[in-house]
Symmetry: C2
Subunit: 222 residues, 2 copies
């Protein structure tokens, strides 16, 4: 079956930059392309927009297909549409980024994806299409947004220590923070509560575990 229009139409995909924290590093999910073009190269997960779904729904579906997660933070980033960005035909990509906590990853291999893996944002392989540009834009947006909102909390698992949260902020912002100032600030926001449990993982004092009071909220705080 074919589809015919009076004027030329571009194809439209959504591509998603899925961030998580793993092994003390900020990581993104990449998939190895199974078909041409860029066969065998790493790329962002994504796929073509269906005519009966909104763009948001498309991104959410792709995210679910790649990682199995739903109900996570997902935000439209930017639309990329330079003329030569796909060698096959004119393709626009509406890019999104998602933040998922390290406990939610399941990595069920998608249909098109021969392989999927988490990559440290600092040491990325060569990426297909203009996906390096998309990823750079996503990193910038994440860093900017973490500085004035509570999105950062979306990267955390259900229970976490303040040190691990601080490491997330340091990774995203690219600079180290003062422990006392960070704790004063984050606790002063009143968004966290103690679980009462403690976390031991080495020859040192165990850390208090905290949780986010209302994880569905992302507030502007500055």
């Amino acid at each position: 079956m074919t589809y015919t229009y009076e004027y030329p139409h571009p194809a439209v995909t959504t591509d998603i930059v899925i961030f998580t924290i793993l092994d003390n590093a900020l990581k993104v999910l990449l998939v190895k392309r199974g078909g041409e073009p860029f066969k065998g190269q790493w790329a962002l997960p994504g796929g073509f927009l269906r005519m009966d779904e909104s763009i948001d729904a498309c991104a959410r579906r792709e995210l679910r297909e790649e990682t199995g997660v739903r109900d996570v933070y997902l935000e439209q980033l930017y639309t990329f549409g330079d003329v030569g960005r796909d060698p096959r035909e004119r393709v626009l990509s509406v890019a999104y980024y998602a933040l998922i906590s390290s406990t939610e990853q399941k990595l069920q291999a998608g249909d098109d994806a021969a392989e999927a893996d988490w990559y440290d944002v600092e040491t990325l392989p060569n990426l297909a299409f203009d996906h390096a540009d998309i990823l750079a834009a996503a990193k910038d947006r994440l860093a900017a947004k973490m500085a004035y909102s509570t999105v950062g909390l979306q990267l955390m698992p259900d229970e976490f220590t303040l040190s691990s949260l601080m490491r997330v902020y340091e990774l995203a912002g690219g600079k180290i923070l003062d422990k006392r100032n960070f704790r004063k600030w984050i606790l002063g926001l009143g968004l966290l509560e103690e679980t009462g449990k403690k976390w031991s993982e080495g020859p040192h004092r165990p850390a208090m575990l905290y949780r986010v009071r209302d994880k569905s909220r992302v507030d502007i705080i500055r």
Copy 2:
């Protein structure tokens, strides 16, 4: 001539929210639709993406066709793509917003546009499609961005008084500012220089005219 694809493709337009300051108010350019759908209703200027131009180039072309201006501040805002937003077929709109100074307006009537006019953002008519949503998003973005960057200067003519600049900030932010604090802040940024000329327009002391040192720059300042 027709265009045929193996999978269905959406149509893609750019729509532009063109802001300016006129009569002491923040205004947007609206055009009256000459054809169906929404014939006779006001809408944002915009048009279909050509296959040989980038999305940015399309927005810039539409802006030029509607207003005659070029080399103005233009930024991608968001991509709107709900399923029913255009009754004809599936249409995505990559929305942009532009800031032009009140001296640059020429308003040459476009091809499709029977009529074009500036509307105060506070008193808008009913708009075609989901253009009210687009406009609301543009207002929010402009207000947010003016609070942490120097985009506001893009709305000014070549020479302007500090009072008129302050009025722009008050209009965008929706609250009145303190004259002394505003002057201290804006002059402290070092982005403005005195022209040496003065502007008289009533029975009161004339105001110093300033200009922007480097209008092509838009800096993050907070």
